[in-house]
Amino acid sequence: MIAVIDYNVGNVRSVCNAFRHIGCDVKLTCEPEIIETAAGVVLPGVAAFGYAVSALGTLAELIKKLALAGRPLLGICVGYQMLFDQSLEYGEHKGLSLVSGNVVPIPAGRVIPHMGWNLVKLPEDMDLFAGLEKEKHFYFAHSFYAYVTDDNAKVAYTDYGFELPASVQKGNVYGTQFHPEKSGPAGLKILQNFALIAERANS
């Protein structure tokens, strides 16, 4: 079972719908007992960073504990940004520090938010992209991005006038700045891959 964390932010239903659509056993939950038993945990999020962190509350510690113990974790959009050390969106906010890096504004000189479908180069050694072509379009909607400083993290990039990190993988911790649940068939494939990763980690 995949647990999608329900913490009072937008978008959670879409992530569940997408997992259900591909035939996954998924639960939308904020119950620590259920989250503990999940094969994989998904941290979605359409919200401002500060709001998301405070809405997540004490669940943050549980998610961090599970991730550090090897449980597959997938962060999406703000859920992905929360994997990092801190964010500067509307003030300074601490993240989960599972991947080193800071969430900073997209540099001026282009249209912001970065909104729409952009082409992501998909490294072969990133597990989320198994079975996909070398590059694919995914849907982005964000004004801040994670500046990744973690030497142990694999990073996939997209071009927005600079190399913008679109996805990370550090061991069992995965994240996408884009929305796989809103990125058509290629996005659903990524969720399918995460479900398989979770299943394998559990067997």
Partner: protein
């Protein structure tokens, strides 16, 4: 490179998609969930659902519609029409919408955009502007509210700039003069707004030919083009639009 978006717009009234000319003479165009799913399957980049009745009774209907659409559509969609409060925005986002558009309420309540942006992030706050060419001062446009029925003294370009500062993450810019006419977008309007703001602008109103889409992007500076009549009634498929734009050098997700 970020691609330009093709966005079919579904105006919803009494659970049906309808389309009119200059906001009048509505014609039935089908079931919203079915039509939305069809667009999603045939390559649309995004969808917009506008509740054009926007009454208290229709409020519940639109939430149910969003829930149904979100079960079948795995591309982003925006919902708008009569949205007044941050709580309503929250409900629609939680029901599965990616973005919510506000129009009249943003004009009437000066803190709505800022409040919504701080809570949800500006990327899901769309400001819809219904613009009408001013008869009194040529080369200017006035903001109209209440589904276009009430003109205000507010200048469209100034309002767009102000709204960006307050927290709008995108502008859905509809030319009331061009809407439904299929005579082309108002690219003077589009250019005036895209030159003035730094957030994405969706050009809306007047699409009739493939060249109109190209012009809105190249002349109007639009980041996305919205259309209804020309796609609901089968004149062009999404694929035809994208192939045409690609062949003329516009980046699209094809």
């Amino acid at each position: 490179m970020l691609t330009k978006r093709i966005i079919p717009c579904l105006d919803v009234k009494d659970n049906r998609v309808v389309k009119g000319v200059n906001f009048l003479n509505l014609r039935d165009a089908g079931d919203p969930v079915e039509l939305g799913a069809r667009y999603s399957d045939t390559g649309a980049d995004e969808l917009v659902f506008l509740d054009i009745t926007a009454t208290i009774r229709s409020r519940k209907t639109i939430v149910e519609l969003v829930e149904k659409v979100a079960e079948k559509v795995f591309i982003p969609f925006t919902v708008g029409g009569g949205i007044q409060t941050v709580e309503q925005i929250d409900e629609l986002l939680r029901s599965g919408a990616e973005k919510v558009s506000v129009n009249t309420a943003a004009v009437q309540k000066s803190d709505l955009l800022a409040e919504a942006a701080q809570r949800f992030g500006n990327q899901c706050v769309v400001l819809a502007i219904d613009a009408r060419r001013s008869k009194a001062s040529p080369g200017r446009w006035q903001v109209c509210v209440k589904a276009g029925s009430e003109p205000t003294d507010i200048d469209v370009v100034q309002w767009a700039v102000e709204a960006e500062k307050m927290g709008a993450g995108e502008i859905l810019l509809t030319s009331m003069d061009a809407d439904g006419t299929r005579a082309g977008y108002d690219n003077e309007l589009n250019k005036a707004v895209t030159d003035a703001v730094n957030i994405p602008v969706i050009a809306s109103g007047g699409a009739g030919t493939l060249e109109h889409l190209y012009d809105a992007i190249t002349i109007g500076g639009a980041d996305a083009v919205l259309m209804a009549s020309i796609t609901h009634f089968g004149n062009y498929t999404i694929k035809q639009m994208k192939e045409y734009l690609r062949d003329r050098g516009i980046p699209v997700n094809l």
